[in-house]
């Protein structure tokens, strides 16, 4: 077999096996019972802002959920992931009043799955998006629990 024919075969095989995978997910906390702020600031009911000087950290929030996706990331089941229950449980366990410095991350933990050559050409091959919420569980200084 000539080099040109081999090269064409390799190219054809590569294109035939090309694919993609992943997932897209809506992230909600609609049932959260505490204020969740991505900034270091949160207010009380009077509108007074509290920041690192007037808050004390009582715990660390860390919730992870992975959403699987199919059909080249077009279909995620379920399409929405709600983090409320885990947030409520962790804040209550720490005796906190709010979460500040909340960070929403998507890590590359699914890279091996999303990028698996050849198999990710199949629409049924699952991809995924690992979502992680972290933050500081805080309460106001000088406010007894």
């Amino acid at each position: 077999m000539s080099v040109a024919v081999t090269a064409r075969l390799v190219l054809f095989a590569a294109l035939a096996a090309s694919g993609c995978a992943g997932a897209r997910v809506n992230v909600t906390a609609n049932g959260a019972r505490y204020p969740l702020s991505l900034s270091p600031v949160v207010r009380d009911a009077s509108g007074r802002p509290y920041d690192a000087r007037s808050l004390v950290k009582v715990g660390w929030l860390d919730v992870r959920k992975t959403a699987p996706g199919f059909v080249y990331a077009a279909l995620t089941i379920p399409p929405t992931r709600d983090f409320s229950d885990e947030i409520n449980a962790q804040v209550a366990a720490a005796g906190g009043e709010a979460v500040v410095s909340l960070t929403i991350s998507v890590a590359g933990g699914c890279g091996w799955l999303n990028g698996f050559p050849i198999l990710n050409a199949l629409p049924v091959w699952p991809g995924c998006a690992p979502v992680r919420l972290t933050g500081d569980i805080v309460r106001r200084r000088n406010i007894p629990p």
């Binding site: 096996a17 992230v27 702020s37 009380d44 990331a73 960070t103 990028g115 050559p117």
Partner: protein, 150 residues
């Protein structure tokens, strides 16, 4: 030739997996001086409630990273050596930059928060990875709000 194909396939797999596994992104608002809220509770001790949106329009905020690479084949006197070359870039305007100048009497509420991770590969030739966290940000009026002390 068979060794070359196997080597190239192994390189394609390991490179795409390793680079894809390294790409991540996160959204926070560490530099913003007003609350940037997710969820229905606007303040400590408050019940879930909806506040009136301010006059400011909805902004789109996002953090994202993309990485892409190609596989190259260096022809040497002894063999054809597969190697890979890639690059990553930041995709979007993060909340810290877009929302930094929000007035201290308003809060920011995030809606429609989405996250996605996606990877495409053309075995032996090309791979691309993208991770994005994005949301719509709305300024909301806070009755009686005060500014942080300097």
């Amino acid at each position: 030739m068979a060794n070359f194909v196997v080597g190239a396939a192994a390189l394609a797999l390991t490179s795409s997996v390793i680079l894809g596994g390294c790409v991540s992104t996160s959204m926070s608002a560490a530099e913003v001086r007003v609350p940037v809220l997710l969820g229905p509770v606007p303040c400590i001790g408050c019940a879930a409630e909806a506040r009136l949106p301010a006059a400011a329009p909805v902004s789109h905020v996002a953090n994202g990273e993309a990485a892409l690479g190609v596989f190259l084949f260096i022809i040497t006197p002894l063999a054809i050596v597969p190697v890979s070359a890639g690059a990553s870039e930041s995709l979007a305007i993060p909340p810290d930059r877009l929302l930094y100048w929000t007035g201290c009497h308003d809060d920011i509420h995030l809606n429609n928060l989405r996250a996605r991770a996606w990877q495409a590969t053309v075995p032996v030739f090309y791979f691309q990875y993208e991770v994005v966290v994005e949301a719509d940000a709305t300024e909301v009026l806070v009755p009686g709000a005060s500014c942080p002390s300097p």
